[in-house]
Subunit: 715 residues, 2 copies
């Protein structure tokens, strides 16, 4: 049934004139339809992916949130510096050495650092399981029930495939809002080590200021190495483990990359919304992006104030600060992009055209005639409880601090464990719970008590501002109690046991009733809120089932109109995208060239973070000590380049290859002017920002002197 | 003697590798040596300037501070909007209509507004008078005496040439620090009228933010018309006057301008310092630019605060604010440029090479061997009294307010008039004094009392901070008196008569003693400071005579080394410069394209000043109602363009012409990246920013509907 979508042809969801071969995050199974050889590829679709032979895709690694690739026969992996940031930070805390600022280079394998908390996933197989899943819900009409059953079926199939092996990971991805299901089975390697990370003054050069920006000069790379047990299993860290011999690894490009050259990317893009309605865009713009930017800014202001006063605060809150800044800039880019391009108006006009076609055909009108009104009605539901939902959302995630989250999570687990196995939410499967518990050791890395208290106080104060009739009654015991909010928070932080990791871990051995009996004030707050959040969760399931069904219909209507095929939205599965090395025009009178250079790195140097370029790099530039990494046309070492490839978050660290399939760089960012790209690909503006492999190797060679890595990669 | 400098060849004062045909603000007499036809000109040197026939230079107009050109047989003139800004402001005050914000279009000639305070100068003749002048000081060795005699000779010759006619203006320019003197004689037209000025939202679009910046989208043009008396004299405004029939006027280009096309400019560049030593650069960077930026910023802060509180302050201080911002940005650009390019170090290295050559030749060593040390010694003199001089400088010009300046100027005039005619300073010749008096009617346009008081208070407070032994004793009567500074200023402003224009004008009928007898406290302050300032003036004359002699030697030494010819530094005389339409690379990874477009104008629109693009212009862009002003390659109306021409302040409003000598635009700015251009021409970075004539005509035609102007220009 889904096969019709897999035939050749490009579908452009919004503006038919935009049709460009560069659009698309294609499934590997769609590769044969792309006619690669006709657009300049010197390798075949089968060289890139083949279910039954070694191919380039065999060398691609998923890091869970980031992408990577093998670059040697001994399990050496290249990914982005920002993808290894967490591991570096955890090691820094452990060793009291700042591996972020100073960088890290293992002189030999014995010196490699365990990349704490980092796993590597290598795809073992993929299979279309649409028939199996849809057969299991045949005859069920009620949407919520159907979705629940599908979820249960997926969980069961994943569990079966993983077979209780902790070095297996199965993920059944939902494509096209449930028109296709694909099962991905991975080997999971739990022993990943850090080999070489440049100092942040290279790996994160430009920091938040340059983030999403071109021209870019960031050496955003880190070398890792994947280890396995002697028996070949993906065991946890052990001295006995040996480097993985991957099925395949990428070769470094032998020719210099030029403007206009064809490139492609294999990686794990996280999420796109290319087939959404104007109602969804409107909601996301005005009810998500804009209010969240305000919220983020207010939290960033708190962090800045605390960090200015206190070095501990600065260290503890740094990655949090970076994350918020990054996301906020993304949201702001979406807002700017949508507002400046009349995004919603254009979507509405497109939908009006679509519906006028649908309504002109009796049969289609009957099937899809009311889809837009029904989608509108769904968003009207969200609107009703908007203020309440916003406040409730504050009691979770980045807006509430570490301690509350620790207590809340443990209580949620206890409640889920008390349910029959089939009723448990998928994210609370015993396996996921155990994965989460493994990370508890790092729970306090970001814990800075004054900040934690401020965040909780802030959430409670906002709850206090809700109108009486919309109030969260579960909070009455504080907000209508005798203590001021500040005082309550002080008292709760004084009395809670959540600052003790042994206490936290022990919570996972308790029943809900046992946790309730602790009378821990921070956990009690989570307990009080449990029902309100659970109700929201259940409402959300109903809403999701309905909107997913409507989105499925919307795509069907689009297909009926345009009769063309399409690629599924990104969902953290391996995808292929291609396009040429190309600059772009960010504004009237300006052309952004596709390459930056070492000279440009030095020109940005201010001596101050994030432009505190290492003196050694300046000296290498001054003395033109480029080694073999000079580009003859540029007369300098290339730093970063732009390509038309269509990527999104999750692609960070992805291998970028030339028409021969050789490694030419690592994707690490998109550009600000195309931040609405998750919603729409714009061929004029959307670019992937890549750190040139020649810069990676120049730093490895001339800056770090890590000759043995070059040798290992065959250079 | 100077003729050797007029032969062909290009002299590059700093870096020999920089030699580029585009460098140079050439005297018209040097045109035949430039081999124009070989570099793409379709007209000859004689078509551009010829002493004995009509040529393009005949159509060039000097506005005193700005440049312009005739564009019709009826005296129609095109210049920059910012050049006519003062006239528009004065008319706005008179008519209570905001011609700046609203723009002005005369429906026919009867509606044209007198451009109050604006004169137009048309070059009548030029002649090398070096021999005459040098002969007059033959045998005089003492430098100060010699300079004084030259000054007197120049004043006498100018007076003789002007022959007491108020419609004549003579200016004898000093080239190469006194190696050449050239006499320029102008017809001066005192009746200039405003024909069409676009609203500031076009004419000053981008304001201070875009000032000096590319990409640029400013329609910086205004049409004026020059009138003469029926007898042909340049009489003052009268209803009887008739439009001037200029000897020549420029024709509008008939072909579309393209990237790479040859262009040239005729205009009146004000001042460059291309042949200065490293000591001069050092002094200007560290003792002029940097401290002045601080001073300007502190004054701008005061203006901003007052303007935010008070609409009157905003109006009165607006042009003052704009001027300070503009100059400060220029200074900052110089600082940035000098610091980032190691300007001083490079100059020193160059001078070391120069001196090592000079010292290698016995004869040259004898003549120039000590020139660098002597220049150094001159700057050491300035250093000794630096703090004192800074404070004294505050009592004059932009740092002291309107009233004090009015009183001080009148007293200075009385003192000068009391001297024998030959001892009077040239800027106090009776003619100059009368010119100044004519402008007294506009004296209070910028007078806002609270600001005036603040500026005087500020100057006194800074004087109070001088160390006791360096103090300005003339201020003891205030600073060592019984009143606080604030109270003294309040009292002085309450008692002074300087707020009454009749009182001010009457000062010009008085002797110094009569003015002293008035006991006007603000004038008394000027009287007390007179001696200190006069002493500085005399010291300055000695210093100048010495440094000028040394600079002359420095140029001789350079010539002895390089043996090439050169163009003189700019000095507000007509110059020729040429170069191609060309973009530039402001930073790694960025190329600035040479054309901007109407689309870009609209894209910058924020609805708020200075990006408050008129709705009508947006609509013209939206509906692609470009008329005949569309550029076929751009598919849009060009807005501004870049050319390699070598210009500086004073060139504003200059006609830019193509290889055929047809008008293609008006120069109105330089670019930020080349702000050190007054010190050094950098072919990679220096560009002239030009408003494209097609944009001028598009606005005239489609926006303003001023068809009669197009017809008058033969379109």
């Amino acid at each position: 049934m889904i096969n019709k979508y897999l035939s050749i042809g490009i579908f452009c969801p919004l503006f038919v004139l935009n049709i460009q071969a560069e659009e698309g995050m294609w499934q590997l199974s769609q590769l044969p339809d792309l006619n690669l050889e006709k657009i300049g590829f010197e390798i075949s679709a089968g060289d890139i992916y083949s279910p039954d032979k070694l191919s380039i895709s065999t060398a691609i690694v998923w890091l869970g949130g980031c992408s990577a690739s093998f670059v040697s026969a001994d399990g050496l992996v290249l990914t982005n510096h920002h993808c290894a940031y967490g591991s570096l930070q955890r090691n820094s805390a452990k060793d009291s050495i700042d591996y972020i600022d100073e960088g890290f280079l293992a002189k030999d394998r014995s010196e490699e650092l365990p990349a704490i908390g980092q796993h590597a996933y290598v795809l073992k197989s993929m299979a279309d399981v649409t028939d199996v899943i849809l057969k299991s819900v045949k005859g069920i009409e009620a949407l919520t029930e159907k979705e629940k059953r599908i979820e249960q079926k997926i969980t069961a199939m994943e569990k079966e495939a993983e077979n209780d092996r902790e070095d297996r990971y199965c993920y059944i991805a939902t494509n096209y809002n449930g028109k296709q299901y694909v099962k991905y089975l991975f080997n999971k390697y739990q022993d990943v080590r850090i080999v070489f990370a440049p100092p942040a003054a290279i790996g994160n050069y430009g920091g938040d200021i340059d983030n999403w920006m071109w021209p870019r000069h960031t050496g955003d790379f880190t070398y890792l190495r994947v280890y396995q047990a002697p028996d070949g299993s993906g065991a946890k860290y052990s001295d006995d483990n040996i480097p993985l011999k991957p099925g395949n690894y990428l070769k470094i490009a032998k020719t210099d990359l030029k403007d206009g050259d064809m490139t492609f990317i294999l990686g794990y893009p996280g999420r796109t919304m290319r087939y959404r309605s104007s109602y969804s865009v409107d909601w996301n713009l005005n009810r998500t992006y804009i209010p969240r930017i305000e919220r983020f800014q207010s939290i960033l202001d708190i962090i800045t104030e605390m960090s200015n006063e206190n070095q501990e605060a600065k260290l503890k809150l740094a990655s949090y600060d970076a994350g918020l800044n990054n996301t906020m800039k993304n949201f702001q880019g979406n807002v700017d992009g949508m507002q400046s391009s009349n995004f919603i108006e254009n979507k509405r006009a497109f939908e009006a055209d679509l519906m006028s076609f649908i309504n002109s055909k009796r049969k289609l009108k009957k099937m899809y005639g009311d889809v837009m009104e029904k989608i509108a009605a769904q968003y009207a539901i969200l609107e009703q409880s908007y203020d309440y939902d916003q406040v409730l959302e504050n009691f979770g995630g980045y807006t509430i601090g570490v301690l509350y989250n620790l207590g809340s999570k443990a209580y949620d687990v206890a409640r889920e464990r008390a349910k029959p196995e089939t009723d448990r939410r998928p994210e609370f499967s015993e396996k996921r719970v155990k994965d989460g518990m493994a990370n508890l050791d790092y729970a306090y890395l970001r814990f800075y008590e004054p900040f934690d208290k401020t965040m909780l106080t802030r959430a409670l104060q906002q709850a206090a501002k809700l109108p009486e009739e919309q109030r969260i009654t579960a909070l009455d015991f504080i907000l209508k109690g005798s203590m001021e909010i500040d005082a309550w928070v002080d008292d709760a932080f004084a009395k809670t046991g959540l600052k003790d990791i042994a206490y936290v871990k022990d919570l996972y051995n308790k029943t809900p009733e046992e946790i309730e009996a602790l009378n821990d004030p921070l956990i009690d707050l989570a307990i009080k809120l449990y029902d309100a959040k659970d109700r929201k969760y259940e409402e959300g399931k109903v809403w999701n089932a309905q909107i997913q069904d409507l989105r499925k219909k919307y795509i069907d209507a689009l297909y009926a109109w345009k009769g063309q095929s399409l690629y599924p939205d990104a969902n953290s599965t391996m995808r292929f995208t291609f396009g040429k090395v190309k600059g772009y025009k960010p504004a009237d009178g300006i052309w952004y060239e596709p390459f930056t250079t070492l000279k440009g790195v030095v020109e940005k140097d201010t001596g101050e973070e994030p432009f505190n370029n290492p003196a050694k790099l300046t000296e290498l530039s001054r003395s033109k000590d480029y080694g073999k990494w000079i580009d003859p046309e540029l007369g300098d070492v290339p730093s970063c380049f732009l390509a038309e490839c269509d990527i999104t978050g999750g692609n960070s660290g992805s291998a970028v290859m030339n028409a021969k399939g050789e490694l030419i760089g690592l994707a690490f960012d998109g550009n600000y002017e195309a931040m609405t790209s998750d919603w729409l690909y714009n061929p004029e503006l959307q670019r992937t920002i890549v750190v040139d492999i020649r810069y990676v190797l120049f730093i490895t060679d001339k800056f770090a002197g890590a000759d043995y890595l070059l040798k290992e990669m065959g250079i």
